[in-house]
Symmetry: C2
Subunit: 404 residues, 2 copies
């Protein structure tokens, strides 16, 4: 036995370079050199709008009218009952999903919703799939359970789920599939038709393999939808074996407060055992009791959102300008990302070139899909306006000239 | 392959009966039957004193003077630099420990401090030890990493670390040892002599085995010390290969807010690699960025505590009364627990008997030590006063009569 003073997999994760973080840090150094106003940083998917006033009002009122020992004290391990009830009522009012408080487990945010669910269901030898392009931490979360992570190649025509490729890759080892709509990094919303076909295929494979295949709906962007025609169906209504992994990070602009939840669909077979496994995974990972003040705050703010209209304005401004300059990009209906084709085959090289114009963009390789770049438009509209000449010059540097 | 629709270990954890929780729930049912004032519930180790006023003042001021996007936004994954610096400065001022902000990783509370550290260092086949009696979740956290959990039998004479038993059990597979002083469930503080001998033994075993053995100091009760003569040395000053796992739950009475930290001792060999492994484990478990508002709050409140004097008063009242009735109990210098000998061999049977007198006590078996019961005296002094005749009658029911 060769003794390792640490867990090597954890060391590798801790030391792994992150292109998003590296880009963000380059931006900070560059801002120090030439001034923050001259750097156009589109690297981070952080909400740029404040939390709704009602959030801070809830905090102030709770501090005044709630006993400190209760307010800052432990709730039940699964979360406070009134919070879980308020969330279930809101989901049912909007989607008639038949969820009860007993189906909800409060978590410390989106990452915890995913890791707790994955640890509850996956064993060594199991496989968890997702559709490219995907949030890079999915791989980290799945592999940490000992399961195999299998991404399905992207359909780069429309960035819907690539069901033909999925049908070829799915196997009896497949136990779970993570889907993310509205999507990071494309901003695409999966159509109801695409979702229906996918769920039909899953049911067919469940019957063929004789065991459940769980759908994990990672939904931090559910409320960030900009087209009135686009609908985001509630997944438990389409497919019984569904876990919904939610976070209030984007909807209430509270990413740092680490508050979210898991819904274990009541339609799932062995729903109570799976809910218990979620509780067990929460214990084993060290997540019992989500932050208590924030549990009370979200109970009072379910169904509300920050003012998300700036994201729609940003999307329209940036999408229209970039396509007019000759860039090609899928039209995004939600989240706060544009996924643009690089103007050379190597997206990393393209993003390096973009830095010459002070544009900080994230190449798509780490999302499991080469040749694109992600533009996070959760920034000020004014920064986007100032950045447009740089995007135009970057296209021209590649000999691309648009309409104008 | 037999398909399991869940991870069986997680299901077992989620369904495992907890004697503490069961006792607490029995208390709620009983209170509904005979009135809350007639039930003496000593089952839960939850702070019973409010957070210091300065905590709520910090929250109010931060809401007023900090931009919402910053206040509720992500910090660095390892925690905000000013918070880590404030904590390091406080530790250094009190213990001259030479800690810097770069040695600190902010966590979502005590459980996360432990799970992140354990996952950073342990691999399959490694062993992690602790001293009985111990907080039952240690076993859960260690076994979830795939490592073996080995408790060292208690020294029931004085509840110091049983070093003779440790020396017999330690082996080349031993990679980590969790210690907890002031201790849950005994309230005992390990003496400086006991700690010194333990650290000497660890160094000797490190040399013998040719690899580090890490000390994990689980310290939620560090500030809860009632005797001016009792000191709790800072472990990084006694032993180089130390991680300190801290939480503000008890010191600031914020158990529900999930805020704590890990110190990776700067004196540790490969300190930077181990810090990186901690970062990697945080990613893999889904803990990046501790709750942001609370990070700012603790930065302004390091070194402060809730008014802990009621715990000392409760300890004196209960210890003096119980020993005068003929109970035998180690004198606790810290935390908020009394660890009392059961008056029959089976502590579970004794605690059932105690319920006839409306006393809700926790038998010691789940702490890895039979024949005792834990009394959590983080309750109102007035409840203790009302409970004393019941303790007296319970002793008398066993034919035990005290001095009075």
């Amino acid at each position: 036995m060769s003794f390792k003073p640490y867990n090597s997999a954890m060391l590798a994760l801790g030391q792994a370079p992150s292109v998003i973080r590296e880009t963000f840090e380059y931006g900070n150094r560059r801002a120090a050199e030439i001034g923050r106003e001259n750097v156009f940083d589109f690297s981070l998917g952080n909400p740029s709008v404040p939390a709704p006033d009602s959030v801070d009002e809830s905090i102030r009122r709770l501090l005044s009218d709630t006993d400190s020992v209760l307010l800052h004290g432990y709730t039940s391990a699964v979360g406070a009952e009134p919070t879980r009830k308020a969330i279930a009522d809101d989901i049912n009012a909007r989607y008639s999903a038949g969820i009860s408080a007993a189906d909800i487990y409060m978590t410390c945010g989106a990452a915890a919703s995913l890791t707790v669910t994955l640890n509850a269901i996956l064993c060594d030898g199991d496989e968890c799939m997702t559709f490219a392009p995907f949030f890079p931490e999915y791989r980290v979360f799945v592999e940490a359970t000992g399961a195999k992570f299998t991404p399905v190649p992207a359909d780069t025509q429309n960035f819907q789920m690539n069901l033909d490729a999925f049908a070829e890759l799915v196997s009896p080892a497949t136990k779970a599939i993570i889907i993310n709509t509205p999507n990071n990094p494309t901003g695409v919303i999966f159509t109801e038709e695409n979702l229906q076909k996918f769920c039909d295929l899953l049911r067919q494979k469940e019957a063929e393999y004789g065991h459940p295949i769980y759908l994990l709906a990672d939904e931090p962007y559910r409320e960030l939808v900009y087209d009135d025609t686009a609908s985001v169906p509630y997944l438990t209504n389409l497919y019984d074996d569904t876990f919904v992994c939610y976070s209030f990070s984007k909807s209430l602009s509270l990413p740092g407060e680490r508050i979210g939840y898991i819904v274990v669909s009541p339609k799932m077979q062995e729903n109570r055992a799976l809910y218990a496994a979620v509780c067990g995974a929460g214990r084993a990972l060290g997540f019992v009791c989500a932050p208590s003040l924030m549990q009370r705050v979200v109970a009072e703010n379910v169904g509300k959102t920050a003012d998300l209209s700036v994201y729609r304005k940003n999307r329209d401004l940036l999408y229209n300008a970039l396509t007019s300059y000759g860039y090609r990009c899928i039209h995004p209906d939600g989240a706060f990302y544009l996924f643009v084709e690089a103007l050379e085959a190597d997206a990393n090289a393209f993003c390096q070139k973009a830095r010459e114009f002070e544009l900080l963009l994230v190449p798509s390789d780490s999302f499991g899909c080469e040749g694109f770049l992600r533009i996070a438009y959760c920034v000020t509209t004014e920064m986007i306006e100032r950045s447009l000449p740089a995007f135009k010059k970057l296209a021209e540097a590649y000999g691309v000239h648009g309409e104008a």
